[in-house]
């Protein structure tokens, strides 16, 4: 088990914001199994569904004009049908946006008017009005997965759309699940717990998530009984897919999880339907155990021992964030008596390098810890770079925690020195046949609120008059921090020093970004991964040997087809 527990700063505002919708959701709509129905934002001012209904009634007259168009449906070609469906979708989206705007504080009336023609289209008319409505609505961001988005936005906050960074618009998808409420009744408790753990980065890291998922599925399979009239190989896969869907609503699945699940499903489907259930379950339990052992536990040992060979006396190893396999490698090399220094580069908001630094320092290594802004300084002394991986794509690119590409590039393009070799440690279970050209098409977006939380400052100078603290604190409470600016923050810091009860307030106000959702023209992007070009990677150490990045697809083919 390689579960790394990042010392993430407790996201108190995020949790507070998340708590609001969970209490309000059941009151507006009955609990449903669909996670898209969740209303994650605290800004929804009225239940949108009922609003839609009432407006529909108001425009009943207009919809009557669309009736003849409906009768013509029979003669339409499939292409035309498709076109019309598209138009309808666009219209629906426009209508939803219009509703949102009308419910917002400003500019309600004109956009509400614009929504009316759109509604007519929604009930079955041509495409012309729909596009007009789309144009009349505020700037429309083209994005993929729009159906999902639309439903989310319909129920969601009034400005959620502006808060999505346009280039990554297709990645927002549905909001991450914040509670087990609404999960299907067939989801096993172990999976329920794991989902939330993954969401909170308690179980974090590609291998750790993969192992935890497999172990949870082992318990699921142990608790499973085949219903009457079906067989285990047929039913278990669908049963498992409920669990998988739940997990993916907590956090998008990693490549390793996907690979493991694929292997497990293959094993399930290979069981002869006539096998007794107990036997089949025992087989699957054994399969999971051996999968974990072969693909991760032992693989990690093999990788660590062959990567440790590359460490020599006097080396300065630079690593980024907190990869468990890199940790294992460094510890092993240290145990072998090699004398080297480690320089850990870390980044916000997860600070995965902190626990790595602590572990290595405790083991007796010389550790230097710096954040990614100090990369150019840290890389000057470097002699080798070791990186962990989230995945390796088929074009040899490394898909890993955001910031990795920066470290790899700094090592390769270091001015006025010998090239620093970049070594990636990666189990073959993380290989994928997908191809990544950039980090935009495939990526994961985490909650932007994670960026806001800041550690409490220990400010000693420039403190305001203690008497003003209470006043400014009240100010900050009112303004929500949007325009509060520095004086509010300074006051908050002073308050933190002054009294314990105002400490919580101080944390809320200390970040100038608090309440970013209310301020216009402000978007936050909390991206999880980036893609390192293959040219920046010298070697990939896997359990099947050391490879150049170009050999990734060959090994992937071999490890999956064998």
């Amino acid at each position: 088990m390689t579960s790394s527990t990042p010392t993430a700063p407790s996201p108190s505002p995020a949790a507070a914001a998340a708590a609001t919708p969970t209490t309000s959701t059941p009151s507006t709509a009955p609990t449903s199994s669909k996670p898209t129905k969740q209303q994650p934002s605290s800004q929804s001012q009225k239940p949108s569904k009922s609003a839609t209904k009432s407006k529909d009634a108001a425009t009943a007259a207009t919809s009557a004009t669309a009736a003849p168009a409906d009768s013509a449906t029979a003669q339409l070609t499939p292409a035309e049908l498709k076109k019309r469906a598209k138009a309808e979708k666009a219209a629906r989206r426009a209508r939803e946006r219009a509703e949102r705007e009308s419910s917002g504080p400003a500019g309600g009336a004109p956009s509400g008017g614009a929504a009316t023609p759109g509604k007519k289209d929604g009930s079955g008319g041509g495409g012309g009005g729909g596009s007009a409505a789309g144009a009349s609505g505020s700037k429309q961001v083209p994005r993929r997965g729009s159906a999902q988005n639309a439903s989310q936005n319909g129920g969601g906050g009034s400005k959620a759309d502006d808060k999505n960074v346009a280039v990554f618009g297709h990645l927002y998808g549905q909001q991450r699940r914040t509670t087990v409420a609404g999960a299907g009744k067939e989801v096993h408790p172990a999976v329920l717990a794991l989902g939330l753990q993954m969401r909170d980065y308690v179980v974090c890291g590609s291998s750790a998530r993969c192992v935890a998922t497999l172990l949870a599925f082992k318990r699921v399979i142990e608790a499973y009984t085949t219903p009457m009239g079906t067989s285990l190989p047929r039913h278990l896969t669908t049963y498992l897919s409920h669990q998988i869907t739940y997990l993916s609503t907590c956090r998008p699945l990693s490549i390793s999880q996907g690979n493991a699940i694929r292997a497990l499903k293959l094993a399930i489907s290979s069981i002869d339907p006539s096998t007794p259930e107990a036997e089949a379950k025992a087989f699957l339990g054994e399969f999971i155990d051996s999968f974990i052992r072969e693909k991760i536990t032992v693989a990690d040992q093999v990788i660590a021992s062959s990567a440790a060979q590359k460490i020599q006396d006097g080396d300065v190893i630079v690593t980024f964030a907190g990869s468990s396999i890199v940790k294992q490698t460094l510890l092993l090399a240290h145990k072998q008596g090699k004398k080297f220094r480690v320089s850990i580069i870390d980044s916000r908001p997860l600070f995965e390098g902190k626990s790595l630094a602590r572990t290595l320092a405790n083991a007796g290594l010389d550790v230097q810890y710096s954040l990614v802004h100090g990369i150019s300084h840290a890389i000057k002394a470097a002699s080798k770079v070791f990186l962990g991986a989230h995945a390796m794509t088929s074009n040899g690119r490394l898909y890993s925690r955001v910031g990795t590409a920066l470290v790899a590039m700094s090592a390769k393009e270091r001015a006025g020195g010998v090239e620093v070799p970049v070594i990636v440690c990666c189990e073959t279970v993380k290989f994928t046949d997908r191809v990544a050209l950039d980090s935009i098409v495939v990526n994961e977006i985490a909650d932007a609120d994670e960026l806001i939380t800041a550690e409490p400052m220990q400010q000693l100078t420039g403190l305001p008059d203690p008497a003003a603290v209470t006043v400014s604190a009240a100010d900050a409470k009112k303004g929500g921090g949007g325009g509060g600016g520095k004086s509010a923050a300074a006051a908050a810091a002073a308050a933190a020093n002054a009294a314990a009860e105002s400490n919580t307030l101080a944390q809320n106000v200390s970040s100038p970004l608090t309440g970013w959702k209310e301020s216009a023209n402000l978007q936050l992007l909390n991206i999880m991964y980036d893609v390192t070009p293959a040219e920046y990677v010298d070697m990939v150490v896997t359990e099947m040997g050391s490879l150049p990045p170009s050999a990734v697809p060959i090994v992937h083919r071999m490890s999956t087809n064998l």
């Binding site: 070799p421 010298d538 070697m539 099947m544 040997g545 490879l547 150049p548 050999a551 060959i554």
Partner: protein, 348 residues
Amino acid sequence: MAAATSTSAKPFDIVATYNELLRSDPDLTMPIAAIEALVLLLTHSPSSTISETLDLLEKSTAHLKQSIPNPIGLSAGTDLFQRYLITTLQRPGQLGPAGDFNAIRAHLLSNGRLFIRRAKESRDKIAAFGRGFVRDGSTVLTNGGSRVVASLLQQAAGEKGGPSAVRFRVIYVLSPAKGDVEGSSAEPEGMETVRALREKGVPVATIPESAVAYSLGKADVVIVGAEGVVENGGIVSRMGTYQIGLLAKAMGKPFYVVAESHKFVRLYPLGQYDLPIEQRVIDFKTEEDVADEATQQQQQAQPTPNVKSPDSSDVVDYTPPHLISALITDSGVLTPSAVSEELIKIWF
């Protein structure tokens, strides 16, 4: 067992056999000599079980690697033979673990010889593949004393005035003569090839290593040999190849490597200084050190220069894959990244 093979207690000395093989047959490459030495070892040893055979093999391999100053080329052969042995022994059937060991042994020996024969033939195969890279009217720049390169160029030259002859010119980079290596003559390595090519009517210019950058503008293509092809598609080759590669890349000239596939080594150097051999190329000295060394040499009398000279001519460097346009091998013309695929095929 290792001690037994090396000392006179046992008649068979693997290191001596290896050196003798290399001396007796100038066409023999290091990996093949190593394999042949191992086959001979197996014929001489009275081992009767599989594990005993493997153990003997492992120990003599380690011994051989230790006693040769640069075991990179050699280890390609020994690794390959060991791998071949293990896969043969694991295969089910009469020759598998269940079979009669004497039959297995006989089979191994005969197959080992077959392997050696095939390896020797591979040079012709490479020449056939590589001919196309020498175009009519082109100028080829090459270096060192690679036998594969020599055979490729000679085959491209064809019969003098014959129909298949390609008219090309050669710029041959010669490094200054170094004391003595096997050749016993003081002339630089590669002079033999130069003579053979000139005999066939190929105009050859010989230049010193310092003139490579100057001459490269007149060359169309660079063809070099290799001592070992490493896992990422780079090559380990005689000192000076890396700089030719760098210059060729800078000038945009194609840089081809000619190597037999038995030279593929399971090695992954990250740079010049990551090779598993100790090379004292850069040796910092002050006047004091020089004086110290001189007195030491006088004390030790003669043997030192003999030890030193092969050291300085055997030095190798590593040419990274991004400098190499293609590798011409007996399994086809490969891009550097295809080398790892070939290696994986052999090892898994």
